[in-house]
């Protein structure tokens, strides 16, 4: 049910997450934050079963924080992505976590990067990604219009197009999309679409 759309632009990453919390046919809460911030400029958007989401993301966030405190230097996006993938993969044949994660991070050395970790422990670095049923609608738009190193205005324009298609065609009403930007200054919100 969750929709997540994410793209990397020139020195920043952008992510749009819907804020619905549904239970059966009712929307319980329409301003839920389905993400966690790891360190200064790494951002993890998670979609899947709510219990698994809270438990797993808490574990990841605290593990990474402990590591930073112990070592004194923050982990890179690549290292965090592989660490998360290992944990998902480790649980796979014992008690699988039914969540998909999108990790967006900014490192001074390589700029912005986006990683998809799915519930089977697949890890893939991508330029743009979408989660949920709406990915069926959104990927074709992204395939057509995405270019590398777009600036913020172009990226938001593309996001608006994607959300427009979702509102037009998706059965479930998702009125609010939280937009977050991740760049050298950290993670901050750009408002709600």
């Amino acid at each position: 049910m969750d929709s997540v759309i994410s793209l990397v632009g020139k020195d920043f990453g952008l992510i749009a997450i819907d804020t619905n919390s549904p239970r059966s046919v009712i929307i319980l809460k329409n301003d839920l934050n389905k993400y966690i911030e790891i360190g200064k400029n790494k951002f993890l958007a998670v979609s899947g079963h709510p219990g698994d989401v809270s438990q797993f993301t808490d574990f990841i966030q605290k593990s990474i924080q402990l590591h930073s405190l112990k070592i004194g230097i923050p982990l890179s996006t690549h290292a965090i992505a592989n660490f998360i993938r290992k944990e998902v993969s480790f649980c796979l044949r014992k008690s699988p976590v039914k969540i998909n994660l999108i990790l967006v991070g900014f490192d001074d050395s390589i700029g912005s990067s986006l990683y998809l970790i799915d519930y089977l422990g697949n890890l893939q670095r991508m330029n743009y990604c979408a989660q949920g049923h709406t990915s069926l609608l959104v990927f074709s738009l992204l395939d057509r219009h995405f270019q590398k190193e777009m600036n913020i205005e172009e990226t938001i324009g593309l996001l608006v197009k994607c959300i427009g298609v979702i509102r037009n065609r998706f059965l479930i009403n998702q009125p609010n999309f939280l937009i977050k930007i991740i760049d050298s200054k950290g993670c901050r919100g750009l408002g709600v679409l």
Binding site: I71, I73, A79, I80, N82, F83, S109
Partner: protein, 259 residues
């Protein structure tokens, strides 16, 4: 007085010292000298290889220099058997990090993990400490080229240049005069060999008794290169330095009018 409190590692003396750890540190001072020098474009490492008998088969692998990972190298001073265990531990730690994060372990972290392992043997278990000191040298993206010294207590410290093992005080005094932080690897090769010649207890130094290597980073391939100099190259350096020493001695004799 120390006799009553030095039998067990896990007992403090009344003066607040751990005698077993201190004795272990003493054991290092009889070991073959190791020298490490940080340069602007790399690290120079050299060690004296002790040959106790002519009947010993020449070693195919090094007994002083060990590769811990692609980006970390260690020099050993002290009990070789103890060193083997610790080298194994550090290699394991480094690969575990690589397995988990798919990134090389930062050099200081490698050193810390070995030191934490060493420290355990000074606090519990009733086992004696490891009688080895290391010089860890490597490169990582966070701090560039680094050189660390570890001792049996589990302490470590970062150095620009250091000497451990036999006659290390003599070596360190040469460092004070001859080592320059702006030197490149080429210049420091000579300084390293000069220190070894002074600290070795042989009047006829030969390349077989010196292990000399450099760590550099290839900017194009972004790989760390650990290069061990051949006997011929070491021999050439020894000759250069002996010639320089003779020249200096002659100059001194001339200036004091001893001719």
């Amino acid at each position: 007085m120390a006799r009553r409190y030095d039998q067990s590692t896990t007992t403090f003396s009344p003066e607040g010292r751990l005698h077993q750890v201190e004795y272990a540190i003493e054991a290092i001072n009889n070991a073959g000298t190791c020298v490490g020098l940080l340069c602007t474009d790399g690290i120079v490492l050299t060690a004296e290889r002790r040959v106790v008998s002519k009947l010993l088969a020449p070693s195919k692998t090094s007994e002083k220099t060990y590769t811990i990972d692609d980006h970390v190298v260690a020099l050993v001073a002290g009990l070789t058997a103890d060193a083997n265990i610790l080298i194994n531990q550090s290699r394991l730690g480094s690969q575990r990090h690589m397995y988990k994060y798919q990134e090389p372990m930062p050099v200081e972290q490698v050193v810390k993990s070995v030191c934490n392992y060493k420290q355990a043997y000074t606090q519990y278990g009733g086992l004696r400490p490891f009688g080895t000191a290391f010089l860890f040298a490597g490169w990582d993206a966070v701090h560039g080229f680094q050189l660390y010294q570890t001792d049996p207590s589990g302490n470590y410290s970062g150095w620009k240049a250091t000497v451990i093992g036999q006659n290390n005080q003599a070596g360190k005094s040469i460092l004070k005069t001859d080592y320059k932080t702006e030197n490149k690897v080429e210049d420091n090769l000579k300084v390293a060999v000069k220190i070894l010649l002074k600290t070795m207890d042989s009047s006829t130094p030969s390349p077989e008794r010196i292990e000399l290597s450099t760590i550099r980073r290839n900017e194009d391939t972004q790989q760390i290169e650990h290069y061990t100099l051949s006997d011929a190259e070491v021999g050439a350096l020894i000759e250069d330095i002996q010639a320089e020493i003779e020249k200096e001695q002659k100059k001194e004799q001339a200036s004091t009018g001893d001719i």
